[in-house]
Symmetry: C3
Amino acid sequence: MAVRPLVLDDDRVLPTDPAVRAVAREIFGAVRDLPLISMHGHVEASVLADDEPFGDPAQLLVVPDHYVTRMFVSQGVRLEELGVPRRDGGPVETDGRAIWRKFCSGWHLFRGTPSRFWLEQELHDVFGVNVQPSDETADAIYDQIAACIARPEFRPRALFDRFKLEILATTDAPASTLDAHAAIAASDWDGRVVPTFRPDALVHLNRPTWKRDVEELGDVAGTAVDTYAGFLAALEQRREHFKRLGALATDHGHTTADTTPLDRADAERIYAAALAGSVEQAAADAFSAHMLFEMARMSRDDGLVMQIHPGVLRNHHGGVHDAFGPDRGFDIPLPVDFTRGLHPMLSAFGTDPGFRCVVFTIDETTYSRELAPLAGVYPSMRLGVPWWFLDSPHAMRRFREAVTETAGFYNTAGFVDDTRAFASIPARHDLARRVDSGYLAQLVTNGQLGLDEAVETAVDLSTTIPREAYAPR
Amino acid sequence: MAVRPLVLDDDRVLPTDPAVRAVAREIFGAVRDLPLISMHGHVEASVLADDEPFGDPAQLLVVPDHYVTRMFVSQGVRLEELGVPRRDGGPVETDGRAIWRKFCSGWHLFRGTPSRFWLEQELHDVFGVNVQPSDETADAIYDQIAACIARPEFRPRALFDRFKLEILATTDAPASTLDAHAAIAASDWDGRVVPTFRPDALVHLNRPTWKRDVEELGDVAGTAVDTYAGFLAALEQRREHFKRLGALATDHGHTTADTTPLDRADAERIYAAALAGSVEQAAADAFSAHMLFEMARMSRDDGLVMQIHPGVLRNHHGGVHDAFGPDRGFDIPLPVDFTRGLHPMLSAFGTDPGFRCVVFTIDETTYSRELAPLAGVYPSMRLGVPWWFLDSPHAMRRFREAVTETAGFYNTAGFVDDTRAFASIPARHDLARRVDSGYLAQLVTNGQLGLDEAVETAVDLSTTIPREAYAPR
Amino acid sequence: MAVRPLVLDDDRVLPTDPAVRAVAREIFGAVRDLPLISMHGHVEASVLADDEPFGDPAQLLVVPDHYVTRMFVSQGVRLEELGVPRRDGGPVETDGRAIWRKFCSGWHLFRGTPSRFWLEQELHDVFGVNVQPSDETADAIYDQIAACIARPEFRPRALFDRFKLEILATTDAPASTLDAHAAIAASDWDGRVVPTFRPDALVHLNRPTWKRDVEELGDVAGTAVDTYAGFLAALEQRREHFKRLGALATDHGHTTADTTPLDRADAERIYAAALAGSVEQAAADAFSAHMLFEMARMSRDDGLVMQIHPGVLRNHHGGVHDAFGPDRGFDIPLPVDFTRGLHPMLSAFGTDPGFRCVVFTIDETTYSRELAPLAGVYPSMRLGVPWWFLDSPHAMRRFREAVTETAGFYNTAGFVDDTRAFASIPARHDLARRVDSGYLAQLVTNGQLGLDEAVETAVDLSTTIPREAYAPR
């Protein structure tokens, strides 16, 4: 097979119709170099606190990216071959070059996927690669990236500045001491890296680690957590700690969107039962729903923006979870009932000026049916943009087409990259800006919007809207 | 900010591809001036019976339009500031000019929404406005509209004629005496304004007003309603009254699509319990479903076309409902199960030449999965076009793309504007005709349909099909 | 009405944008003449074993095609008028010419439908018709087709060869002796016609014919089926027989996607109860789900590829079913829960190299939410392409847009025509290749894919991928 060049079309993903493309180009030109606001992601703060060089190319681009590894798994490759560590410490591939060759040999699997878009742009723009991955080019690309990451200008902070990151939000457990965030704040580097409060492990009573996690929470908070009241106090204490280190938001992943509150006595009883080690599934589910409501109450009180993204059945394949742990590509979406699920929370806090929530989904059916009607009327709610499986050209376009007509642009919340892959952040924002520019360009070309309005809207979607959506209340 | 001109692109919303647009223009040209058939709306007959001048611009275009007010509410504006009356008579803004200024200051919120399209066309075509609303232009536009509506040619009947309304159907409670309709019929004006029979308040036993409503029904019908048999007789009597005043259809908004009939004894028992003031929710739901089946039976017997639009959780925010009543933008859609829900009704009447139903949804997932397959085989069923949140360019396009391939064009039912905003009726029909012309133009351009067939189909969608769909059976 | 010519646009269904169309043409040119791989259909093997001339034009193109007859039914035509036989032997139209005239008079009903596309291409390319059906042209077209089918080059085998069918899979009951397949294999004709094992009637205990079917199974298998163990043994024996006659796959239509296995004792108990004639609906449903799991186990053991297509409420109108039997257009889709439903099966076999399943849906909501995430990670699963109501231009395009970004191209399974209408097979594959070429062309034109990669992918979708998807494991 001939070596294929890796060339980035400057108009990539923009509409193909020449008249629309010309307008899209103009709109995109106004936003492509704006700073990046990354309010929802999974980069570890320690990466920027330590500022050490990244590992080898496979460790940087393949091993930790479950978008990439799941595609190989779907074609019969074992996670061991891709260097994904086993929980039992069993043998896995450790040779970065071998993993990289495997990756390059499956490059065709990514045709039409956003991973292809992100990786191409990352290889080309960050590392200067100009041939496509293949069996023939694997070694040369590996060497080129390895040479880059050994250089100081490819260290995390240098890339952060080069990427024009205005702010980067991490995702952190309540018991985290946030030492890395403190270290960054105390350093002479002025990058803004803020924590996000994610209490999922503490509100799902049936997780095997729950008791250990809640004890750790108590220890860090310096609060007795042997009662429900103590548990709430510990959470409130940690939220304050997060706020002191810059946190703007919380983050909540639940199986359903249920936010039905419990009577205080029921919550206390279920919490006590869980501590005693005997909670039933229905009670655990009721407690999870109750805690979403309580978290909304706390957000109303302390001003942290509440991010909610329900509807995923985690660890669909038990065997893979046992061997490799969570986040291995086997989390599969479910239908979500937002209309009824969010009803208690929005009835209580949805028109309260002190409360702000941002709601995400991977159940697209809820866009036009539920989320746009809700975000289009509740002042406390903003509609989160497409994320995870939907962070892709067609899905982002479907999002705008499905929600704008009901909720407009100004009830959405700005792009979130949600990534563990630090070097992919610019490509992800770039793609979203291209899709939004294309959508706006169509409104201009078919006479629904003025070009100046479209440019203004594109700028707002990139910066004004996310800044406002996550502003302290 | 500079004043932006309000110019209507003659090709607005038509496809952007030049070849497709040229065809769409030709198709649209054949239908843009056809008369308007408005079979489903919420304009009050008294407006046309009295033929008084409209109120001030805010009362005409802002206050009663929940599409407009909800968008402001979503951005933190209170309904009081928009002049929406409180149920307790508490203070709200009464200065039309102040409300209008608030409206103009939020014009950007409507970018990409159908409200923007309708309002632009209404401002421009009906009132001759040629600048976009903004803080700078608010007063001038207000004055211009106010001057118009003081003139005789802007009175309701004059606009009705100018709009080329062939027929306008209103929505009316069964106990309505329909005096306004009778007055119009008795007048020397020849506009056709017909009532529509909407019995929702009477078939949902758990509504607080149910007992009062059913007593009122009995009074108006001159029938004792203290038994279920009397209740049915009163409904039948009112349907006859509606038919005498020109009614062609009934209209049914339910939470679900369930049409399961009850045994006569069960229906009698539940009805008696409701009269006694003690009906449980499950029994009330079963009675609602049963009454949909009964209404289908009555339609089969008297030939009124039955319009069904299930799947909305009304008054999602209790506080807003308590303060301002229903229809304030807080009605949120739900998923609907048409396949199982309509099964009893369609099994009983779906192939009966005497029965016709038109089924609407705001759950788009049912278009290709349920409604097109049902409408594509049951002769008694027509598929209602997009309505409410879906009455918009992308949503209307998605409708045609989702249903035509299974149900064709001739099992759909023609555009319904469903509006309270009388002056927006032409813009709404115009938009639908543009979208349908664009869809047909694509079929022509990609070789699936002849241009002459496309023109014929567009004309049928605008006039022939709705006339046939609502023709007495 | 003037006679309309029937001309096939060589670019039909390709994108309208000239730049995209030029690319699409190039891609389509590489695949339009590739052989047809028809892995899932309903043509009877006896048609090719007997190789008799087809019946009259109505019997060939109208009477057996429920896509065509349901459209007429939806407009008030009775199935009797279309010659569909009644179960009670009651009178139906038998004059082929009369049926054909009825069909031609409703040609406009098919505007925008895939039936129109298929029929046009079939009439034009197979039978040389060059005018559109209408009242005026009905007789001439009838005569032209009738003259064709009397000629030897229009016999089934001749058409099979002319259509370039590489393989044709039929659908067969487990008790079928497959004599027609054996006859074809023993003949001097080298067309490849293979059976597919469809055990639905045997695993749904509540079907009225179940007991008779299971006894017939025992007779043919030569196995006592008075125990559950004997039932399984009989099924395994038949699968082996099917494999000997070339079968590559099994086929399973269930109401839900549930694959929860039962304890052996429960399965035995329910089976015994069914034999005794007293199984409850819940037990029957549990048994159906259990049998899907068991069929997966057998597939893992014998290598037959398992095709699953759940989510249809069959025979929605009882009266039509009573009068005319199944498959009359009254099968209506339901929502499907694949994430939870397939969980037991995929947890057990989803990473087993010996197992392969292909999963189909007509609930489009599951494409991006469930099926693409599942097929994008489980190596044993391939995602079936759009089928039945979704085998149409817009629906096929939506499929690629919804699943490619998550699952890529190489986790899908290749086009299936699923047809009873033998002469429509080429048109169906042609349409799918056009849609896929258009989709790929857009990726090329907007800079996401190289043209050489797009051509390679189109070829893979047409031949490599279906061959691999159905290859014995």
